[in-house]
Subunit: 227 residues, 2 copies
DNA sequence: TCGGGCACAATATGATCAAATTTCAGACTG
DNA sequence: CAGTCTGAAATTTGATCATATTGTGCCCGA
């Protein structure tokens, strides 16, 4: 009987029963991670209420959440905008991502069932297709999905939360870099990660993850400060 | 002239010029870190509007921010409460805190000027007084201030933000543990940290920080699951 | 170039609607 | 007869909106 009450409300986009402010938050999150929000771009409450067709209270709540996430910054003069990253910021993110996400990979290596490794490999193949097709948005979306699916088996919600927070921070900047250099220049170590998972080799998984992060982030570090 | 405008607005209660939702956020943050909010306790919007004497919109915004911080959890049934930590949660926090805060200590060791080391030492002496006096609230406040003052010289805002997020998560639980066992059983490695700072020994500072974290957090891990 | 006003956006409140929990009453069972 | 379970009403709380107020930045005129 509880099953009927707790229906799978996971439908985000369609008119679910979830509160509007939650939907607004998810929408903005997607726009930040994969969308067209560029660093430095101002974000106005009224602009969002108009474009999303909802009241301002849910929009305000979503924006506050994203500010706490580091995905948006409050500029003091009650202006909100997408953050511009400094070289120092990116360096810190590389450090933090490697520290946290290698641990997530280690934990997932011990827990992930074989069928889910297959799913991960399939996800990576679709991701390769995005790269060859030059679909930047699709690449970003699937790259995020790959890491998310990997870490989902870590049984470490606190660490996942920290990692997600970091992704929200560098999302817009990563998008700019990909848009400028194209997807061709985006090597990843996903194959190595999958191989390590199959071998149940935690350290190999951690090393491959660190290399994957290092490559993507340092490319962003090289590209952005010159902007 | 800016000095006049940017008065020490740190007074949360009195009518500063800062927006109300910011004041509410800071107030709740203090209550979570040092106050009487106990894990599992429900937090209601209307209760806060009544007790703080402000409208519901600022309260809602502050609560959303704290949920994003992990300081409060959304229980699904649109109820919000102070999180209860599992042993797994604490283990992850130990890992993340050691990874991030040791790095913050390393960076601060390279940057902190000598006079500020003196200030830090003075802070630690006041903290010792709180321990001998058995003032739990004062201990928590000064312990937080000590780490905050140390990390302030790290020039690493992203890492500081991640660390602060973790403190907000374990704050209420730490308070419970201190309240139960008293402050006498709270050894810290602050003396070692200060010595390492004076010697400009980054690795010694990192090790002392890790031990400080390990001690405090593992004590919490031992105490809480039995609750 | 500087000062005053004008317009826009954000802040904050109160009202209204919806949902969920609690409570209370009644009936059924042991 | 007592205790408990069920179900519906009532109260409490949350979500959203519309509106008034305040602060900011911009523009125009001197």
């Amino acid at each position: 009987m509880d099953l009927i009450k707790n229906k799978p409300n996971t439908s985000l986009t369609e008119g679910g029963k979830r509160p509007v402010h939650e939907q607004v938050y998810q929408t903005l999150k997607s726009q930040i991670l994969f969308g067209d929000l560029v660093p430095g771009q101002p974000v106005t409450i009224q602009g969002l209420t108009d474009s999303l067709g909802v009241g301002m209270t849910p929009v305000r709540e979503a924006i506050r959440r994203l500010i706490s996430d580091g995905a948006l910054i409050f500029q003091g003069n009650r202006r909100v905008s997408v953050p511009l990253l400094s070289a120092n910021d990116i360096e810190q993110m590389i450090f933090a991502r490697i520290a946290i996400e290698t641990e997530l990979s280690r934990r997932s290596t011990n827990n992930i069932p074989d069928p889910d490794i297959d799913d991960l490999e399939q996800l990576d193949q679709r991701l390769d297709r995005m790269i060859t097709d030059g679909d930047v948005g699709g690449y970003l979306r699937l790259n995020h999905a790959f890491h998310q699916a990997l870490y989902a088996h870590s049984d470490a919600p606190v660490l996942i939360d920290l990692a997600e927070r970091l992704w929200l921070r560098f999302g817009p900047s990563l998008r700019i870099v990909c848009g400028r250099f194209g997807t061709q220049s985006l090597p990843d170590r996903h194959k190595d990660i999958i191989a390590a998972l199959r071998a149940r080799d935690t350290e190999k998984a951690a090393i491959a993850t660190a290399q994957d992060i290092e490559q993507g982030m340092s490319m962003m570090g090289d590209a952005l400060p010159g902007t």
